[in-house]
């Protein structure tokens, strides 16, 4: 790696509603930058191959795998990590429905589920399955996670009915 090629560049990032400035290499993955430069360790390195979804973050309202994204690509975009998702109903539903065990995959699942309900407050079963197929859990199972999403949907409907 030559000196010239390894030159760091400064980028502005919009992450969890805050503007931050950080120095990166062009080849740095978004996952590494948010974990190592910004100290936001909720996004997890799993397969690092785009298969497991443990590194999922929300970029401009869409769930994306941060291991498949260069940090330099997202300077002008809004990024949400699990740390920025304070008091999302999905988080509480995951607790209530026992939708996690070891917790390693949980930030990815929660962000994907949150993005799903943000984009479509009333997804059908097929759509929930399709979105959740982006993430892999190896200790709980998917039924409880689907139940958590259903619980948020039910709660939202009940609230809307009573309003």
């Amino acid at each position: 790696m030559s000196e010239k090629k390894s030159k760091k560049v400064t980028i502005d990032m919009n992450i969890n509603g805050e503007k931050v400035e950080t120095d990166i290499l062009a080849a740095d993955l978004l996952l590494d930058v948010i974990r190592n430069n910004l100290g936001l360790t909720g996004a997890k390195p799993g397969c690092l191959n785009g298969d497991c979804g443990a590194c999922t973050v929300i970029i401009n309202q869409k769930p994306m795998k941060s291991c498949l994204t260069l940090a330099i690509e997202v300077g002008d975009k809004e990024i949400t990590t699990i740390e920025g998702l304070l008091h999302s109903p999905v988080q509480k539903a995951f607790v209530d429905e026992f939708a996690f065990q070891c917790g390693y995959c949980t930030p990815g699942f929660i962000l994907n589920s949150h993005a799903l309900l943000m984009n479509d407050p009333n997804p059908n079963k097929e759509k929930i399955t399709e979105w959740l197929s982006s993430n892999i859990c190896r200790c709980t199972g998917y039924k409880e996670i689907e139940n958590a999403i259903q619980a948020v949907m039910t709660k939202t409907h009940n609230k809307n009915d009573s309003d």
Binding site: A27, D28, L48, P63, K65, T129
Partner: protein, 280 residues
Amino acid sequence: MIPYDFRYYKPTSIKEAADLYQTITAEGGKPVYYSGGTEIITLSRLNLVYTDAVIDIKSIPECQEWGFHHEELIIGAALPLSFFDEKRDFPLLTETAREIADYTARNKITIGGNICGQIFYREGVLPFLLLDSQVLIAGESGVRRQSLKEVFIETLTLKDGEFLVQLTTKKIDLRLPALSVKKRQQWKTGYPLLTVASVKKDGLLRFAFSGVCPFPFRSEQMEVVLNDRKKPYEERVLDSFKYLPKPVLNDTEGSSEYRLFVLKNTIIDFLKKLEGDQRE
């Protein structure tokens, strides 16, 4: 972590991108065009791809185009696969694209990246092969429009410094009866065994395949045999296999015998559904 660094460029015009490629090459560098970038990132991490400079084409307006013009649908090469789930003007593309990778990956993988990728499935090309689409290719000498059939021979045959800008498909063909099915050995999200896509035009079925051979293809010779309605389904399919390109894949996703078994049954299902115009 990618084990080496590179320079990153984000051109905003076709000419700027093509000129950048030439300049970097002239300086002895090894640039790559970058769209979704998922394959470049994952293969770089494994040291299977090396580049000095990444030229990100996502900010080129023509690569993001989507719309009808002169009775054709224009599709920018840098549109992500999930986009076609939201825009349903091209149902066969929607069906085929939604079976590639998984939802969050499809937010990043682009149609051009899938078609130009090294990974051999490249299912995104199947609808375009079936509908005689055209491609817009840019490079040092400007932009050229060509029939996809002429330039997609196992892979998109681009000259050094060229990149795919757009695909265009006749509007009249977008709503033809069509099917696309991906078969996996395990689960709904495992790696593909094979994908079969078909359209019915002028009473005849066209077929294109991915995962059968180490490249996607459409075979007009197979189509002639498969459309011979005088013969029963199974006989037609087995006869058509004489025209399969070689080699048939034999890997961890499935042996060649298993692939041909699944292919036979899938094509028979297609013949039953599409000869009677039944949509799934």
